[in-house]
């Protein structure tokens, strides 16, 4: 009976796919017209001839995320910040727990492979974040990728190895606060630059606008950085990487170690 059901599902899947590929393809087609809003975004993402409207970033997604709808992304980061704060609050009171004796972690083969791959993961993550304004990717994606390296080390080497290497909850909390402060400063930096000159500017402004002639430089030494986008991506990278690492550190505290401390406290 089970086999018959599985066979029917597979057959239905194949027939459905064939239908989509042959008959339905003639009737259901995506529209060839680009919607006017999308046209506007694509036209202005990188457009040096319209300096008052462009973002100067060839990556349309990053231009939308950090410029056209920048405020939304700042709020998203704030939500993520609150989630991390919540998880830290749940893990409060876990101050000290002793390292168990004996060999920790998986075998030497797995550890060696992790040593090689963790470095590569960090390198790829940094490239995703630093090229966020040129190629698909960005601060959040890069940070999430970088957080995989501490997760692997936590599982394969043990929780205490990471702590002994100095990757503690407090350091990560500091890095995350640094990243968030960076986002906050970059959000108002054009406004701060305009203030002494008596020009008015906007929060989350990147390039000059029609009624505000000030903006961050799009190029530094001939390299495209797209004004605020590069700084936003770096800050977000640190904030997200450190935030995820804190959560991983908290969820891998062994329950045994924690319980022992509690019992000691009760006595």
């Amino acid at each position: 009976m089970k086999h018959v059901l599985g066979l029917i599902i597979i057959l239905l899947f194949i027939i459905g796919f064939s239908l989509v590929l042959t008959v339905a393809g003639n009737y259901i087609l995506p529209s060839q017209e680009i919607r006017s809003l999308a046209k506007y975004y694509l036209y202005l993402a990188y457009n040096p001839w319209h300096r008052n409207f462009t973002v100067m970033s060839p990556e349309a997604v990053t231009s939308i995320v950090w410029d056209f709808r920048g405020l939304d992304t700042v709020f998203e980061t704030a939500v993520f910040y609150l989630a991390i704060i919540g998880s830290i609050a749940l893990g409060r009171g876990i101050v000290k727990y002793s390292k168990p004796s004996g060999k920790l972690g998986l075998s030497l083969i797995v550890k060696t492979v992790t040593r090689i791959s963790a470095v590569m993961i960090i390198a790829v993550a940094a490239s995703i974040a630093l090229h966020g304004h040129l190629t698909p990717g960005g601060g959040f994606q890069g940070g999430a990728t970088a957080a995989v390296a501490p997760l692997l080390i936590l599982i394969i080497f043990s929780h205490y190895y990471l702590l002994e290497k100095g990757v503690t909850k407090d350091l990560m909390l500091f890095l995350r606060s640094l990243g968030l402060t960076g986002i906050g400063i970059v959000a108002i930096i054009v406004y701060l630059m305009a203030l002494p000159q008596g020009i008015h500017a906007y929060v989350l402004q990147n390039q000059p606008k029609p009624d505000s002639s000030i903006g961050l430089p799009a190029y530094i030494d001939g390299q495209l950085i797209s004004g605020t986008l590069w700084f936003f991506n770096i800050s977000e990278f640190f904030a997200v990487m450190a935030g995820f690492t804190i959560v991983f550190l908290l969820i891998t505290i062994p329950e045994r170690a924690f319980k022992k401390e509690e019992e000691v406290e009760r006595q």
């Binding site: 998986l106 075998s107 083969i109 797995v110 492979v113 992790t114 090689i116 791959s117």
Partner: protein, 124 residues
């Protein structure tokens, strides 16, 4: 001339990969215990993923129609192949070691098990 040789060698490697994947799939279904099936799965990742990836890199290197972009394909293929080569054995090693040490899966049928005699279930 050299590009034709590269493409042919690459195609052969991709073909070998396809055959190896078929063999690995048969092994996954036919082998009798967990450790043997893990062996079949690793055939699928090394012969069925590492070798065709190198083959695809060779095909891309020999294919002048791709222009200078062929080096991107080649580089991506070789790096991915290297990662598969080091990560897949480490993963299957970790799985097999954890399973054997925790004693979750007995070795059955077994001829000899030097690591732990109690895990060895002789046939018959």
């Amino acid at each position: 001339m050299i590009e034709d040789i590269l493409v042919v060698i690459g195609m052969i490697m991709i073909g070998v990969g396809a055959v190896a994947d078929l063999i690995a799939a048969i092994g996954m279904n036919r082998f009798k215990n967990f450790y043997l099936r893990l062996h079949a799965a690793t055939i699928g990742t090394i012969w069925g993923a590492f070798v065709p990836l190198i083959g695809a890199s060779l095909v891309a290197t020999g294919c002048y129609c791709l222009g200078s972009y062929r080096w991107f394909v080649t580089g991506g293929g070789i790096i991915t192949a290297f990662l598969v080569l080091i990560l897949a054995p480490a993963g299957s090693h970790a799985l097999a070691r954890a399973t054997h040490r925790s004693g979750l899966v007995k070795v059955e049928p077994c001829v000899v098990d030097h690591l732990n005699e109690e895990m060895c279930v002789k046939e018959g």
